[in-house]
């Protein structure tokens, strides 16, 4: 009886590990700015603070405007999980705390990586994250330290 339960249990566990590996490999995002942007490096805490609305300027007083992708997209959940260590639900709760205390609205969400690229190219203050397939010479990848 016990063995009959263990065998499917182990296969489930392996299945879960495999699917975890797959999501890590597939859903990668790059943090990017316009090639004309005045910065190419950000500390991970600056990036997190900018996206959580705790900071609008970086070290040398430069304004940074974060751009988001729609809720429920793989890019968005990969970005927040990887760079803020929080799940989409935690981010939603974070913004509920800000909105309902009158402390601001979340970053503007554009339709997809292509829309983010178009905005970045026309706005050197903007910061975004995109699917690597959309990277082109008009953009620069931001180094996260």
């Amino acid at each position: 009886m016990v063995r009959r339960l263990i065998a499917p249990g182990i296969s489930l566990l392996f299945g879960a590990m495999l699917s975890l590996n797959c999501t890590l490999a597939l859903a990668e995002v790059l943090v990017v700015v316009s090639a004309d942007a005045p910065f190419t490096r950000l500390t991970s805490s600056d990036l997190r603070d900018i996206y959580l609305g705790r900071r609008t300027q970086i070290a040398n007083g430069m304004m940074v405007v974060p751009l988001d992708q729609p809720e429920g997209t793989a890019a968005r959940s990969e970005f927040y999980t990887h760079f803020t260590g929080q799940t989409p639900a935690q981010i939603k709760a974070h913004w509920a705390r800000q909105i309902f205390t009158g402390r601001g609205q979340p970053p503007q969400a554009l339709a997809n990586s292509r829309a983010v690229v178009e905005r970045l190219v026309s706005d050197t203050k903007a910061l975004g994250y995109i699917d690597p397939a959309f990277l082109d010479e008009r953009l620069r990848v931001v180094t996260i330290e």
């Binding site: 805490s45 609008t56 935690q90 509920a96 205390t101 009158g102």
Partner: protein
């Protein structure tokens, strides 16, 4: 008077701002909402458990299960008029002292950002007395079915009409927020109203990686109509009555509230705790409360466990008037007054509680929370239960089970 002036300022700023429109994406109007559909079961049948001490009914005596303890709906409009100027109005409908769900204004203010890190607000706001005070009614944004009452019940008046200033400053990877407020507020309940005037508070919050630190201090003058009348009767009993009234009177005395909080949240788990101390050189006395909650996140599930304690640190009994000194019927009157005085002195919350719960974030913006609370009332305390029946025995234990659907949109 201060309140009228405040509202006049709000109206003037809103009218003025019409002339300042510049950006093409402005004015920008956003509508948001939040709410909870919740039921609570209490095994104490002779009194009602309530989340809000001013509600008229709760779970237990009024009904085995009550949908009125946690259920509420909040709607908010945010208008950004210029990059610096915005206004927020938030209305909440929940169970009130008169039994209705009539909507009430929780927030209504105008915010002016002098710089991205310095903001001024004028209008109606919520005191940031505790870590989650300002969003305590947005259950979606907190881990529990409701904030731990051992701390959040210490101060019943949370809204105020006045001004507040927030200054944000950064040092390296640390973000700090300093908030200072001044104003006054009031809360109605069945037998009258509680007013808080000349209230001011300072709070400071630090975000440092996964750590959050919080501290606040505030003072306010509380006045309660009902108690003023009570002490006027005491004064009829000559010098001893006068002395007692002066000692326990609430009006005109400064009440102080201090709190400390900390949280650590590396993502897959979190821990948070707060300690608060309330003191008033009056009938309200001194009390303190603390809680600690630990939660673990597994995909969409967040099981959590918490402990909390509240106790009165000032004396809960008073010999009162010496009844032997008065002739009948004054002696009986004095006895009655002493009885009421002692009852109020010992009516504060004294309890230990254990909370077990789990939250399920089953879709974006929606979560289902199930929570069990075991409350052990101490020293004959009634744990803030209302509608106490003659058969109710203070100092016992109660078990609560809550189920809530929280949402934001």
């Amino acid at each position: 008077m201060v309140r009228q002036a405040t509202w006049l300022c709000v109206i003037l700023i809103v009218l003025q701002s019409g002339a300042l429109l510049a950006d093409s994406t402005l004015p920008d109007l956003e509508f948001n909402g939040f709410g909870t559909l919740g039921v609570v079961h209490s095994d104490e049948r002779n009194a009602d458990f309530v989340g809000d001490p001013f509600a008229s009914e709760g779970a237990g005596y009024s009904g085995d299960w009550s949908a009125e303890v946690d259920s509420r709906l909040g709607l908010q409009a945010t208008l950004r008029m210029t990059p610096q100027l915005s206004t927020v109005v938030q209305v909440i409908s929940e169970k009130r002292y008169d039994g209705s769900f009539a909507p009430d204004i929780e927030w209504a203010n105008v915010q002016y950002d002098v710089s991205p890190d310095l903001s001024l607000r004028v209008g109606r706001m919520v005191q940031s007395s505790f870590m989650a005070s300002e969003h305590r009614k947005v259950n979606y944004a907190t881990p529990w079915a409701r904030p731990p009452q051992e701390v959040y019940r210490l101060i019943p008046v949370a809204n105020f009409d006045g001004v507040d200033v927030r200054y944000r400053y950064h040092s390296g990877s640390v973000t700090n927020e300093l908030q200072v407020n001044f104003g006054g507020g009031s809360a109605d309940y069945q037998a009258g109203s509680i007013d808080a005037s000349d209230s001011w508070g300072v709070s400071h919050r630090t975000h440092w990686g996964n750590t959050t630190l919080f501290a606040s201090y505030g003072e306010l003058k509380v006045s309660v109509d009902e108690l003023t009348q009570f002490f006027d009767i005491y004064r009829l009993f000559g010098l001893p009555g006068e002395a007692l009234a002066n000692r326990y009177e609430v009006d005109g005395k400064r009440t102080r509230l201090m709190s400390l909080g900390a949280g650590y949240d590396p993502g897959s788990w979190f821990v948070m705790g707060e300690w608060a101390h309330f003191s008033s050189p009056s009938l309200l006395g001194k009390s303190e409360g603390a809680y600690m909650t630990f939660g673990y996140r597994i995909a969409e599930w967040t099981p959590y466990v918490g402990v909390a304690r509240a106790k009165i640190t000032s004396s809960t009994s008073e010999p009162g008037l010496n009844t032997a000194l008065y002739p009948s019927p004054y002696a009986e009157g004095a006895q009655l007054l002493n009885g009421v005085l002692n009852e109020i002195l010992s009516s504060g919350m004294q309890q230990d509680s254990i909370t077990l719960g789990a939250r399920w974030d089953f879709r974006p913006g929606m979560a289902l929370t199930a929570q069990y609370d075991h409350i052990d009332m101490r020293s004959g305390s009634s744990a803030g239960l209302i509608n106490q029946q003659p058969e109710f025995n203070p100092g016992g234990r109660i078990n609560l089970f809550s189920l809530a659907l929280d949402f934001v949109f």
